[in-house]
Amino acid sequence: MSSLLRGEEMCLAQLFLQSGSAYDCISELGELGLVEFRDLNPNVNAFQRKHVNEIKKCEEMERILGYLLREIKKAHISLPERDMNPVAPSPKHIMTIMEQLQKLEVELGEVTRNKEKLQKNLLELTEYTHMLRITRNFVQRTTEQEPLQVHYEEFPFLEKDTRMDYSSMQRLGAKLGFISGLIQRAKIEAFERMLWRVCKGYTILSSAEVDEYLEDPDTGEPTKSVVFLISYWGDQIGQKVKKICDCYHCHLYPYPSSNDERNDVVEGLRTRIQDLHTVLHRTEDYLRQVLIKASESVYTWVVQVKKMKAIYYILNLCSFDVTNKCLISEVWCPVNDIPRLRRALEDGSRKSGATVPSFVNRIPTTDTPPTLMRTNKFTSGFQNIVDAYGVGSYREVNPAPFTIITFPFLFAVMFGDLGHGVIMSLFAFWMVRYENNRKLKNTRNEIWNTFFEGRYIILMMGLFSVYTGLIYNDCFSKSLNIFGSGWSVKAMFKAGLWTNDVLRANHFLTLDPNVTGVFKGPYPFGIDPIWNLASNRLTFLNSYKMKMSVILGIIHMSFGVILSTYNHRHFRKNYNLYLVFLPELLFLLCLFGYLVFMIFYKWLVFTAKDSRHAPSILIHFINMFLMQGEAVQPLYPGQTGLQVFLVVIAVLSVPVLLLGKPVYLYWLQNGGRNRLGMYRGYERVRRNSDEELCLLRSEDMEEGSSHSDLTSSGEHLSEEFNFADEFLHQAIHTIEYCLGCVSNTASYLRLWALSLAHAQLSEVLWAMVMRVGLRMDTTLGVIFLVPVFSLFAVLTVSILLVMEGLSAFLHALRLHWVEFQNKFYSGTGVKFCPFSFSLMPSSFEHDGLL
C-alpha cells in the first residue's frame, strides 16, 4: 500500500535493452521520470566509458551554444517564448545539429572579426583627422605669433621666413623633422619629461587635447587622447624620439609638409571615414540578423543537447551482457509503476523499429531501496521541511501528513495575532492565486523562491494564526469585544466597595470576582477583552500560556511515541511493542501525563472562592518525587497513594526499557535457536521466489542486531548477534529518552515565550507609533496620522510579520524535528531521484543566459 503515511514500495528491476533501441527506450524513460538508474560500472573511469565520444560531442555543442547565447545576450535580443519541449534527437539528427552549430559558430566568428577590424580602421582614421585638424592650429598659431616675437640671436633667419622652409634648414646642415601623433592623456606629462631628458632641448613638443572621447581599442573604454607635434633637429634625435614614442604606445601618423597636402589628406580621410561608417553599419545589421535567426532555434537546441547528454550518461551506466547484443541496466522502480515501465519500453522499442522488444525483470535484493513519497503541490512543501532534517528510511512512518496540521498549529500558538494572521493569509492567497503566472515562478531571486515554494505552508500558518488570534483575543495588540465582556465594573459600585473617594485615592483597583455581579461568566470564545485594560494582564496570561504549552507538549510527544507502534508492527518486531513502546509510554504518562491531569484538575475544581488557598501544582509535583505527601494539603483523597504508585511504575519501566530488548534478543539467539532455525527453514521453502522474504530478512537484520556480513546468497542463517553492541545502543536510547522527556517538556515552554514576545512587540509598536499619531491635536493630527500609519504598516510587516514569523517558523520546526521526531523517526534513508529530463536544470539557466 502506498500512501503519504509510509512511502511507496520499491523494487529492483533489470532492464534488458536491445542495442538498437536502447537510446529510444531511455529517452522514453527520461520523459516519464519513473525510475532511478544504478551505476553498473562503478570502477570505470569517466574517460574509459563506452560513450565518452558522444558525450564529448555534446559538450562541444554546449560550448558553441554557450557562445551563441552570450552573443545573443550582448546584442540585447530577447529569446522567444519557451513553452515547447522537444524530444531528444535520434543519433542521425545529432550530426545535422552539430553541423548547423559549427557553421553558425564559424560565421559569427568571421563577422565579429571583420567588425573589429573595421572598427580599428575607423579609429585610426578618426585619430588621423583629429591630429591634422589640431596640428593645423599649431602651425597657424606659430605663424600668427611671428610678428610678436622678439629677436632670437641664435636663429635670426626665422624672422624672415614665415613658413617652415626645409631648404633654409638644410642650408644650416640641420634637418628639421616632425613627428606627430596621439598619445593617451595620462601619459603626456611623463612623455614630455622623458623627451626633455633624452633629447636635451633639441626637440620642441606642442600638444593639445582632443575634445571628444575616443574608444581605446584594447580595453574598449572611452579615453581622452592628446595630439602632439614634435619638431626635432637631426637624424639621431629623430631615432631617439621614435623609440620613445614606441615606448609610450603612441599612434604616429605622417605629418603633411605643406598646407595643400594637408587639405588633400583631410578630404581623402573624410570620404574614407564615411565609407567605413556605412560598411560598419551594414556589418552590424548583418550580425544582428544572423543572431536573430539563431535565437529562434537556440532554445530547442539547448534542450535537445541536454537530453542527449543525459541519455548517453545513462547508457554509460549500463553494462553489456554475455552475448554483447543487449544492454543490461538495474533500476529502482516503484512496484506500482512496473506496468508503466513495461509500456514505456514497448513504446521505445516500437519507435526505434526494433524487432525484438526490450523487457523488464524484477530481481530480489538485500539492499535498502530509496524512499519515494508521492506528493502533490500542497503536501510537497510539508514533505520538504520533513526531508530537510532527514529523509525517511525505507517504509517507515512519515511524519509529513501529521505535520500538515501540527506545524501550522504550533506556529500559530507562537504567533497568535488576528490582524497579522489576516495579512499573512492574504499574502499567501495572492501567491496561490497567481501560482501559474510564469513571471512569479521563474524568478532567480533565491529568497523569493523559498517563500513561493512554501506558499501553502504560509497559507495554513496564516489561517491557523487567525484562529489563535481569536483565542488570545489579540488584533494588532488590541482586543475585540465581540460578545460582551464577562466582567462588570458597575457591580463593584453597586456593592458599595468602590466610591468616588476610593477612585480618587488609588491608582490601581482590583475587581473582586467574589463580589456578586462582578464576574458574570466566562467569555464564550477566547480571552475576555477586559484583560487588555488590566495591569496584571501578563500575570494571568503567563500562567495560562505556560500551562497550555506543557499540555500541548505532552500531547505532541505522546503522539510521537504512539506513532512508533506503527513502525514496530510494520517491521514485524512485535517484541518492541512490549519491551520498548510500553515502558516509554508508561514513563511519559505516569510522570508528565499526571502533571497534565493535575493542571486540569486544578482548573476544574478550584474556583475564585478557593483562590486564596489554591495549591501550587509545581510544589505537588516536586513532592511527588521526594515522596513527601504530608507537607501540604492533598488535592484529592488518596493522592499520596496514587502518586507513589505512579512513581514506582515510572521507575520500574526504566530498567525494562534498558534491559528488556537486549536480553530478549540474546535469549532468542541462544535459547530458541533450534526452533528459530526450523521456523526460518519452513518459511524459506514456502516463499521461495518471493522478494518479500529477502526484504523481510533484510529489515529484520538491520534493526537492532548488527550483522557484519550477510552475503547476498543469504544461505547461512547464523546471525552475528553482538550483545554488547545491542546493549550499548539500548542504553543510549534509554538515557536519551528519559532525560529527553524532562528537557523536551521544558522545551515546549518556548510556545509561551514566543507568544509573549510577539504580543509585547505588537503592543510596543502600537504605543510608540500609532498612539503618537492618534493623540495629536486635530489641526496637525490628520496630516500627521497619514505618514504615521505608513510607518506603522512598514514596521509591522518588517518586524512583526517577517522577523517574528521567521522566528516562530524556526522554533515550530525545531519542536517538530527534535522533540516530536526523536520519539519515532530515524530519518536515515536515501531519497529517490528518478531519471527525468524535467528535473535536470540547464547549466545556461544557472548562468542567467536563458
Binding site: 530577447s78 495579512i423 494588532f476 488590541k478 482586543s479 469585544n481 477583552p529 487588555n532 485594560l533 504605543a767 500609532m770 498612539r771 492618534l774 493623540r775 495629536m776 491635536d777 486635530t778 493630527g781 490628520v782 496620522l785 497619514v786 500609519f789 505608513s790 504598516a793 512598514v794
Partner: protein, 101 residues
C-alpha cells in the same frame, strides 16, 4: 505632455497595498472610536483636567473620542487618494511595459 510616471512598478504596488490596508484599517479605527470603545482609551488625548472639570461627564471624553474618530476617517480619505494615484501609476507602468516589449 510630460510623463506622469514617477515611480517604478514595485513602488506603485507597495503604494497600492499600503493604501488599501490604510483605508480598511483607518476606517475601522474610525468606527471603533465613534463607538467609544473602551479598549482604545489610551489612544484618546485626554488630560486630568478633562476628567475633573467635566460639567456633565463623560461628554468631554466622548467629544475627544469623536474627534479622533473623525481624524481617522479623514486619514482614510487621504489614503483613498493615495490609492488612486498608485493605481494610476500601476496602469501607466503596465502600459509602458507593454509598449516596450
Amino acid at each position: 505632455m510630460p510623463s506622469l510616471l514617477f515611480c517604478g512598478p514595485k513602488m506603485a504596488a507597495c503604494g497600492m497595498v499600503i493604501s488599501i490596508w490604510g483605508v480598511i484599517m483607518l476606517a475601522m479605527l474610525g468606527i471603533f472610536f465613534s463607538a467609544k470603545s473602551a479598549v482604545l482609551i489610551e489612544d484618546v488625548p485626554f488630560t486630568e483636567e478633562d476628567i475633573r472639570n467635566d460639567k456633565n461627564p463623560p461628554q468631554n471624553i466622548y467629544a475627544l473620542y469623536n474627534q479622533v474618530g473623525i481624524n481617522c476617517f479623514i486619514a482614510a480619505g487621504v489614503y483613498v487618494a493615495v490609492g488612486a494615484v498608485s493605481l494610476c501609476q500601476v496602469r501607466l507602468n503596465k502600459r509602458q511595459e507593454y509598449m516596450v516589449t
